[in-house]
């Protein structure tokens, strides 16, 4: 059987109240000698308080829920690591929930987490995470922060990547390297991040005096296979292009694959760029030039924000937007104009 506060109290010949006081460092209310005696016994018996019992009265479990689409998506492990490290630093554990971006799974997990009395929730929802889920969260009065999703909900905090600025920088780089005809493989239309990046692409073009040709953009779904297909489509177009910007690395890898198959040399004939800088971007051939999202940092910031909310130090409605960083590797070749 586990040692409880009662055992310690009996052993020390005091009441559990007194023991409770020393456990919780209530500076006043306990004599120095008593305190030390109790501390010694606690140490000897290896007593540590039971979080469940404590949680019941304090309504605090030191656990937060983290809801994401899928940990197998290479974009998430680093984020989760950032969250976990930060959580641990502040005395929290994380419960991981994979939803595959399914609305009903999200709903179920949110309920469960609330019932399990988590102290807070980090939520990377599906694109159309229905109002219902969000309202459930708001109603629960449990602090939460959106991660990697730009969501306008009154009083809700979020942290995400600046996709517009990021893709703008990427495409501008391509232009500076002498490219004029730049195709684009986008993410799904419903995805807010995909929309942002597409916007960055257009903007960069226009700002540099290059007309935007909608036919040069094809839509994928952020998966490798769609990049592969997308590249195939582009190749059939009656347009010339010297570079293809992809909305994420996975699709860029797919594009690379198609190019390898067709015997088209990268970057000699066509330059390719990615976005995210998942670790595999440095392992392809050629290595991918891409925009590095501050993934770990994204997780850290989200958790920090959540801690503030849980501590009541922030009242919500904070917005943190992280700028990605250009990583130049080998998939882009300079063109003479």
């Amino acid at each position: 059987m586990r040692v409880t506060i009662k055992d310690i109290a009996k052993e020390a010949g005091v009441s559990i109240t007194t023991v409770s006081r020393v456990i919780n460092n209530k500076t006043e209310g306990v004599g120095e000698e008593t305190r030390e005696r109790i501390l010694k016994i606690i140490d000897e018996k290896g007593y540590t308080p039971n979080y469940i019992a404590r949680g019941l009265v304090l309504k605090k479990t030191q656990v937060v829920g983290v809801i994401i689409p899928d940990i197998m998506n290479p974009f998430f492990p680093e984020i989760i690591r950032g969250v976990e490290d930060t959580a641990a630093k502040h005395g929290y554990n994380i419960i991981l929930c994979n939803t595959d971006s399914k609305w009903d799974k999200e709903k179920e997990y949110i309920k469960l987490l609330i019932d399990k009395y988590v102290d807070g929730i980090i939520y990377t929802g599906s694109m159309q995470s229905d109002r219902e889920n969000i309202e459930e969260l708001m109603d629960s009065s449990i602090p939460f922060v959106f991660l990697d999703r730009f969501v306008h909900v009154d009083g809700a905090s979020y942290v995400c990547d600046d996709g517009v600025a990021g893709m703008y920088e990427m495409v501008s780089y391509l232009i500076e390297e002498g490219h004029r005809n730049i195709a684009y493989i986008s993410g799904a239309r419903e995805s807010s991040t995909a929309r942002d990046r597409l916007e960055g692409y257009k903007k960069a073009l226009i700002d540099h005096g290059i007309p935007f040709n909608p036919e040069l953009v094809v839509h994928g779904d952020y998966k490798m296979s769609s990049g592969k297909l997308g590249m195939g489509e582009l190749l059939k177009l009656p347009y010339q292009f010297t570079a293809v910007a992809c909305a994420n690395d996975l699709m860029a890898v797919g594009a690379l694959d198609t190019l390898h198959e067709k015997g088209i040399e990268v970057p000699k004939e066509i330059s390719i760029t990615g976005y995210d800088d998942i670790y595999l971007a440095g392992m392809t051939y050629p290595k991918l030039t891409t925009m590095a999202q501050a993934k770990y940092s994204l997780g850290v910031q989200a958790m920090k924000l959540l801690v503030e909310l849980m501590d009541g130090k922030s009242t919500g409605a904070e917005e943190i937007v992280l700028r990605p960083r250009l990583v130049v590797r080998d998939s882009v070749e300079r063109r003479r104009i």
Copy 2:
């Protein structure tokens, strides 16, 4: 405020015991009408039981702890997904803990998890996870299973990959493809999986009448950089070889990188093989021929075993060893003998 069992009882004009009975589907002990009336009120008020309170009396939290080295290691996400899916299916949530294989971090997490009353633990420890940690686990009387670690502890269950058989198959394949001089990039000497795979390599050689030459094996640490370095070392050797078997995919990618740099063609001049089949294995150039560990399944099996233990349906000491599967892609070329 959250609705509690008390609210429901009052509303229904019954005692909380009765409500508790219907919540827990105690078939007997409640009249049909009463039951329905209560059910209706529960539904209306949206009541769901508080797991913390329940946990306190039942000593059951429906949460399990999962301790791994690092979720950023591409080997783990799929495993974790298998664990989580299976856990969810059985009504459990998982608390994720990253230890970086640090002995003290593991220790801390184990303590914490015990204090938080998790119902079970899945443990992928460091190679030399000291006896102390394991004893702490055993003493706690919390069910646990080792994952991806072959550990001989009386009464402990584990599930892992058959590294000996796996690498044996890989190297045999190479031999069948006509290779006779096969170098090897191994994992760290302390790692049990690395030892197993190395053994499989030797055994395959010997069984096919090829002498084992220790100078043809270099030791890495499972990371890409060490594969890159290892390949460099091998190239300096005064020996000929037509193939290099790597103890995992990451190192194989590193080896590939060195070969690209030196302008040595793969698989034309040198064939390369990996192990694990992390998702990036299908994205390199050329695509890696490798042994696919049943990662998702590893997670599923571990969790299933844990559930059995928690349900008291198994008394421990189960051992599950999963066979990996050969995945032939493009990094090996047939040789004429």
